[in-house]
């Protein structure tokens, strides 16, 4: 088996037997051969993350954080106290009335159970 030194010497001897071409001739031949072959555009370089996935990757956590902040700080209609105050009601069996209303007073969260047109023979 030849060692690297022997290979280098052989290559030098080979190179000496073949005359070197001028650089201009080499590149002219290279371009001629390249033009003869069908050329396609450079293959797209994939970075590993598509734009769509990148957008989702950035927007997802932002949306989650925004939703969490809204849930924590939004003091919307949380009048659970008033809405849950009257769990159930029943008007007396033989009591004539015009209907029942449950009113919620927002400022105080008070609940009003109002029996309309109650004929209780006062």
């Amino acid at each position: 088996m030849k060692n690297i030194g022997q290979l280098v010497r052989e290559a030098a001897r080979e190179g000496g037997r073949r005359p070197l071409r001028p650089a201009d001739d080499f590149w002219r031949e290279f371009r001629r051969q390249a033009a003869a072959l069908p050329q396609t555009g450079a293959a797209p370089v994939k970075t590993g993350v598509s734009r769509g996935k990148l957008w989702i990757g950035l927007a997802g956590p932002a949306v989650a954080i925004a939703a969490t902040l809204v849930a924590v700080f939004w003091s919307g209609p949380r009048d659970l106290a008033s809405h849950d105050a009257v769990q159930s009601y029943r008007i007396g069996e033989d009591v004539v009335h015009g209907g029942v209303m449950i009113l919620n007073d927002e400022p105080s969260r008070a609940t009003i159970l109002w029996i309309a047109d109650l004929a209780d023979n006062a």
Partner: protein, 136 residues
């Protein structure tokens, strides 16, 4: 440092215990609502605005008040010709309002400390009668 920590812990536990004990009384007030002029009873100062906002009456007069302890066990309160039966805690209070021996309305209420629950529409000489219930 240990003593201070122990003292603070004791104080915290005592505060929590006091908080848990709050709302152990139910205030029941019988109110007559009318269209007649005049000022409302000063004893109803905490609820006059609520009643005025939501009910079509100009004047609210206190006709009676009672207090019972919560939780109640079939507690019967007589007030202004009505008989109110209360059973349960403020989170689950069964209330039956009777007059003349018959049940006018029965309801199950969840009361929040200091937040009024108002049950009304009962006929009276000058307008309507209302019960104002507040857990304290």
């Amino acid at each position: 440092m240990k003593k201070l920590r122990r003292a603070l812990t004791t104080l915290l536990v005592a505060t929590l215990a006091l908080g848990a004990a709050a709302g152990q009384q139910l205030s029941i007030r019988l109110v007559e609502a009318s269209q007649q002029g005049g000022s409302s009873s000063p004893e109803l100062a905490d609820v006059t605005a609520i009643l005025s906002r939501n009910l079509p009456f100009a004047n609210f007069t206190l006709q009676g008040s009672r207090k019972i302890s919560l939780p109640a066990e079939q507690a019967v309160v007589q007030i202004g010709g009505y008989s109110l039966t209360c059973n349960g805690s403020q989170q689950d209070l069964q209330l039956a309002i009777r007059r003349g021996g018959r049940v006018l309305v029965s309801t199950i209420l969840r009361l929040t400390d200091g937040t009024p629950v108002i049950v009304g529409g009962f006929s009276s000489a000058n307008g309507k009668q209302i019960f104002v219930l507040v857990a304290q």
